[in-house]
Amino acid sequence: MTLFAEIWDGTRGFVVKTGAFALFVVRLLAVTPAALLRFRLVVEQVYNTGARSLVIIMLSGLFVGMVLGLQGFDLLQRFGSEEALGVAVALALLKELGPVVTALLFAGRAGTSLTSEIGLMGATDQLAAMQMMAVDPVKRVCAPRFLGGLIAMPLLAAIFSMIGLFGAQLLGVQLMGVDSGQFWSQMQAAVDVDDVMEGVVKSLVFGFACSAIAVYEGYHAVPTAEGVGRATTRTVVTSSVAVLVLDYMLTAVFL
């Protein structure tokens, strides 16, 4: 009986939380156009979430590309078709790894900082102070951060894919001796603009999900040191799961 009650409580809690999140997203979207008018705040957040994630994204992209190049080369070599390395790496990066790995890193690097920042604002009564001055904290604090993340994500994913390709090229062509012309021309023949667009759409959706989750968790964090810490952890966990589930659904739609 207690097990049943626990399951019931858990399910109910999940449904309630999903509902609260959906309502918050509606509220966020309603004030987002107004945030565009104060563009300075958005630019600041693009800097915080995007430009400051650049180093980790580029470094990860380079190594992911190099690993793909190495594994792909080893596999394709068995069939005597190393020239297909470019196609394999480009499609893997553009359609899956670029958006997904960028989103996971984004959740870890930018999402956590958004959550803890907003959560700490709540813990130090800054959000309450804004409400006292009739300033809507969702509009002033949450919306620019959400928008900044939404703008930064597709750009980060594109940079990740480009650096990854460069890494694969470095390994395959420079180190392993795949023909450079074959590498690029086979890639160009096999990759469509649609494939690039798939990556852009995916990264936009992931950017939306990660930013919205980060902002939501921060805004609803329990205003204590422990509460903020827990909210930050939840941001990473929820964002990662959301990204992987959404990725499956988007892939099913695109195929």
């Binding site: 630019v43 430009a51 930064a152 480009m162 469509d192 649609d194």
Partner: protein, 169 residues
Amino acid sequence: MKQSRAIELGTGLFVLLGFAALFFLVTQISSRGAGFGSSGYLLTAKFDNIGGLKTGAPVSMGGVTIGRVTTIDFDSTDYKAVATLRIAPRFDRTPEDSDAAINTAGLLGGQYVGITPGGSETYLRDGDRIEFTQSAVVLENLISKFLFDKAAEQAPAGNAAPDTQGAQP
């Protein structure tokens, strides 16, 4: 003021780098971006069987890609597949008695439409139809034909074999 300048600079660099990466991916990695878009003229060709031909597949003459397959439709009056080919404007001298065949690039490659030029002095124009076509070779049919031929060859020999063997000892 000094600090906000740095933020603007950083953001600007980041956004520019992002768009440069996107531009690179769209133009350098993919093929459709470098295509001829919606220019060129349209030809149609009717095939009994198009095999695995897909829209976007190349149309080539003498191994050079001169266009792409834009649409594939089915004509239910004569039960044939109709492929619409968009040919780049500068390849405007395709003889009207040319022959279109569906070929396969390599053993595992994709299928494409190969055009073999005819000898006519009049050239195909926008909206014309290529009369002579060859369907895709369906590998299963080819294999089953080969096996049946082999079986037919073996049958008389197989009947004769026990006789000779029986006669030997």
